[in-house]
Every structure is written in structure tokens, then in C-alpha cells.
């Protein structure tokens, strides 16, 4: 047998390299395969594409939507991004046999510039499997803790200390869902099944908590709010299926209602909110953008929007209504001259829009890039 294997070596070589190479190679400079160590510089837009086996965070140039790189994790990937845009987090499930066998929930900590895994932290095997929304995986204001939404379906929040890479505690959250951290300190609020909010405040070391329940804020049956939220100054914005904006304050350690604004008052066509990441706020101009759907009724709340509305929250004025194709999720950049990014849920496009400040913050599509699969989250240090 030894002889055969030796003979085989030649065969293998011929198999791999059946063509003789020219010996006079003075002028020919062969190329070599290399690895790009860092993605191209500049601001990024990230899209979280959830999969049943693997989930991918695609990283695009915020300028022209060129795909700059990606990182990938397991099933039902939830994700978030550090404020500086350099660290991405994904919480997802891995199974020994993809869809069965032994499972584990892992928090991957990714280095965005190099697209590499910096750290893995094992989570309690309770992480929610739910269409991804920003409210399911959230950093504390100082980015020392990360909060993970659990649902078995009993709901709770796993608190992970990112410095020690250890789970600090699991906070029971019965009948409530979604994580809305305060802009400072270590507290977060959550939406409860009776239309109230619960606010949890952690002790200094992250291992204890106290909680305070709000008054009833909204009517779950008749005016349910999305999980999606935005910050307008210090306040939290939510929006209902019926396009009522709930402006809330979490400054006092409990949620208080500031005001409620109907976007559709005086508008015909029975418009309602529609999509997943349905609202985004540009603070510099006090303008709220919302994906809207005509003739809305029970069951249309997750369809792709047919218009994006720009609304001046300071003045209470509907500024513009821009027609779009099936946009389910939006993100507007900060600053006085923002761009808006949207996900077309029928064609799986990531789209970029120029915002015309002189015409009511109306939108004009400038470019698009396919995002390769179902996605409901846009992130970025925009």
C-alpha cells in the first residue's frame, strides 16, 4: 500500500495543478491572495438580517451603501451597536444540529473595523426568538452593561456585565416586554400588558434592582404601540398602530406621559403606522419620520409602508408625505442635513434617501443595495 500512496501523491499533484508553469518569469509579477484587515473607513449603516440558522450583520458605507463587510452569528440574531460604532453585539442561538439537539445562547462581541469576534459570552438559554427589534438587546448608557430580552415565553431580562463578561442578574419581567434604557445610570423601562410601563433600576454593582410601575399609558386593545422607539431630546417616543405618538419621560425613575399626538388628524385615507422599525427622529430639526400605510386595519401593522411621513413634533405639523415602496424600517441620521435609510421588505433592498429640508423634509431615493434577506433593523453611528 505504501507504493500506491506514493504514486498517489503524483496523481494528487497533477489533479491540483495539471498545467506546467512557464520558467522564464522575469516580467511576470504573480498576485497573491491577501486578507483585508480592516473595512474601509467612514460612517457605516448596519443591517441585521435574521435567519433561522444563521444571522448576519451587514455593514454598508453610509455614503453610497457599498457593502464593506459583515459578521455572522446563529439563529434569530438580535443585535446592537456601541455609540462609537466600533463594537457590535449579537445575541443568538446555536444548536448541535441546527434545528434540534443541544442549544446554547451566545452573545458575540464583534470588532466592527476588523469584522472579528472579540469575545463570546454564554447567556442563559432563554433569549427571545422574535422578529428583531432594537428593544431586545440594549446597552446601558455607559455601555458597561448589556440587557438581553428573554422569553420562554415567560419574560425576563438578563443583565450582562461587559467588563467581567459575566451575567450579573436576571430580572423577572412578567407580562412585560422590551428594554428601553435610561439616558444615564443603570435603569431601563419595559412595556407591560396592561398598557403601563415598568421601570427597573439596578444597584451599583448590577446584581440588585428595584422597580416602579407607571400609570396606564396606552390602550393595548385599541391603540397598541410598537416595540420601536426613538429619543426626542430626553424623552422617549413610541407610536401606535393608529399613528398616535406617545411622548414619554423616564427622567424620574418611572414612565410619565408627556403628551400624545395623532399624526393622522385631518388626513383622509385612514392611514396607520406600518412596518417594524417604524419611526426615527432627527433631533436637530425636531422632525419625526414614520412609515405609513393607507386603509389600515387589523393585520396591516407589519406591512411595508407606502409613504414616509415627516412630522414636526415641536410645531405639531405634518411636513411632508413621501411615497415609498414597501419600506418597513427606517433610520434617519443625526445633524441638520440628515439622510434617511429604509428597508424595502418586499425586495429586501436597503435604500438611501436624500432629505429635502426646503420641501418639508420630503425624501428622494438616491441609491439602494440588496440586503440579501429578511431584515427589520438598521443601525449606525450616523
Amino acid at each position: 500500500m505504501a507504493k500506491m500512496i506514493t504514486a498517489g501523491s503524483w496523481l494528487i499533484l497533477l489533479t491540483l495543478f495539471p498545467i506546467a508553469v512557464h520558467a522564464d518569469e522575469a516580467a511576470f509579477v504573480p498576485e497573491t491572495v491577501t486578507v483585508k484587515t480592516r473595512i474601509s473607513p467612514g460612517p457605516n449603516v448596519l443591517v441585521n438580517q435574521m435567519g433561522m440558522a444563521s444571522s448576519t450583520l451587514y455593514i454598508y458605507s453610509a455614503q453610497d451603501l457599498t457593502l464593506k463587510g459583515s459578521v455572522s452569528g446563529g439563529a434569530w440574531g438580535l443585535s446592537t451597536l456601541s455609540r462609537d460604532g466600533n463594537t457590535a453585539y449579537m445575541a443568538s442561538s446555536f444548536f448541535s444540529r441546527i434545528t434540534y439537539g443541544t442549544g446554547e445562547d451566545i452573545l458575540q462581541v464583534f470588532d466592527v473595523p476588523t469584522n472579528t469576534v472579540r469575545k463570546e459570552i454564554r447567556l442563559p438559554f432563554k433569549v427571545t426568538q422574535y422578529t428583531p427589534d432594537a428593544s431586545q438587546l440594549r446597552l446601558s448608557a455607559d455601555e458597561k452593561f448589556i440587557y438581553v430580552q428573554n422569553a420562554t415565553p415567560a419574560t425576563s431580562v438578563t443583565v450582562v456585565n461587559l467588563e467581567s463578561a459575566k451575567v450579573s442578574q436576571e430580572i423577572p419581567q412578567p407580562g412585560c416586554y422590551g428594554i428601553y434604557p435610561a439616558t444615564e445610570g443603570h435603569s431601563f423601562s419595559t412595556i407591560c400588558t396592561d398598557g403601563s410601563f415598568m421601570t427597573f433600576s439596578m444597584g451599583a454593582d448590577g446584581t440588585t434592582f428595584t422597580s416602579r410601575k407607571s400609570e396606564k399609558i396606552f390602550d393595548v386593545d385599541n391603540d397598541p404601540i410598537y416595540l420601536a422607539s426613538a429619543r426626542a431630546g430626553d424623552d422617549l417616543l413610541f407610536i401606535s398602530y393608529n399613528a398616535n405618538v406617545y411622548r414619554l419621560s423616564d427622567k424620574s425613575g418611572v414612565i410619565r406621559k408627556v403628551n400624545v399626538t395623532s399624526l393622522t388628524r385631518g388626513v383622509s385615507g385612514n392611514w396607520g403606522t406600518s412596518g417594524y422599525g417604524v419611526l426615527s427622529y432627527n433631533d436637530a430639526n425636531n422632525v419625526l419620520f414614520v412609515t405609513m400605510y393607507p386603509n389600515h386595519h387589523e393585520g396591516t401593522h407589519h406591512r411595508g409602508g407606502k409613504q414616509i411621513w415627516a412630522y414636526d413634533l415641536a410645531r405639531g405639523t405634518l411636513l411632508s408625505r413621501s411615497p415609498v415602496n414597501d419600506i418597513s424600517t427606517i433610520a434617519v441620521s443625526t445633524g441638520e442635513k440628515p439622510s434617511l435609510y429604509g428597508l424595502n421588505m418586499k425586495k429586501n433592498f436597503l435604500e438611501e434617501y436624500a432629505v429635502d429640508r426646503n420641501h418639508g423634509f420630503s425624501l428622494k431615493k438616491t441609491t439602494q443595495h440588496t440586503d440579501f434577506g429578511f431584515a427589520t433593523m438598521i443601525m449606525g453611528n450616523l
Binding site: A75, Y100, T128, A154, G175
Partner: protein
Amino acid sequence: MAKRIDNLVEWVDGVAEASMRHLAGMSGRRSLLHKAGKIFIGGAVLPMLPYDNSNGVSHAEERHAEGTIPDDCQYWRYCSLHGGLCSKCGGSVTQCPPGTTPSKVAWVGTCRNPKDNKDYLVSYNDCCGKAGSCGDECTRQERDRPGYRMGLASESSWCIANGKQGVHCTVAIVVGLAE
């Protein structure tokens, strides 16, 4: 309705650790309703929907011709469905396909049967443990609510109570009359 409420009750008691097998011989429908009744008395908030409460004869009739339940997404019992029907995966409208496990808990829709104009509770159980899809999904999602009303949340996987195994398809089980 037995299994459905069984699951709910056990789940509340045991916080989602219930085993289907453990449940099977545990209690009849009546005792379950009794339990459910107590729960409602104890509940602080009762978000009931104002539906007719006459009984569901016409539905019971339909059930006898189960093999013929349509799998057109527009069929009444799919009013809050969000997923691929198991009838397209080798199962049926009420049967998980071979080799899968029905989710121990489920989201619930309230759908009106146009035959008797009554509203029924429909339990949408995911069937778990296999990869691969089997056809177009139905996305109706009427009265769907986000995770803060988990029992109506069609955006959640319901295999989460089954070791989070892969969602293969979804069945639609008429479990009760809505009051």
C-alpha cells in the same frame, strides 16, 4: 380546548417547563375550565372582546370534514396566522408533520367563522425541530400584538417553550368560542 388550556395553566404554574407527556392524563376539560375561571376572577385586567357567546355547532360540524379544511390564507381560521401552514409540509391544518414537535404554548387569534358569525379562539402552534420551509407563508396577523401581550404575539417563535428548536411550520387549532 383541553390541551390548549392545559398548557396555559400548567405553564403559568410551572413557568413554561411543562411537558406534553406529563400533561396528557392530567385533567379533563371541565377541571381546566374551572381553573381558567379562577384565573379570570383573580385577574386585575380583563381585556375581553365583546363577542357573541352562543355555542359553536356549525364549527363542530365543519370539524368532521377536517381533511377538507382549506389552506387558502384567506380562510377564516387563519385570521391571525403568521407563518407557513403545516398542511403544506406533510402535516395538516391541525397536525404537525411527522418528526416535529408541536409547541407547548402558542399565540391565539380570535377569528369570526362566517358560517355561524361566531368568534372562535384559534391557537397557532408552531411545529418544531426541523429545518426547511414548505411554501408561501400566510401573514394575516389580525389582533396581533407585540411581546408585551405575548399570547397574541405572532412575531415570536413559539418553539421557545420547546428548547427553542427550529420552527418548521404552523398549525391553526380552533380551541374555543370567544365570549
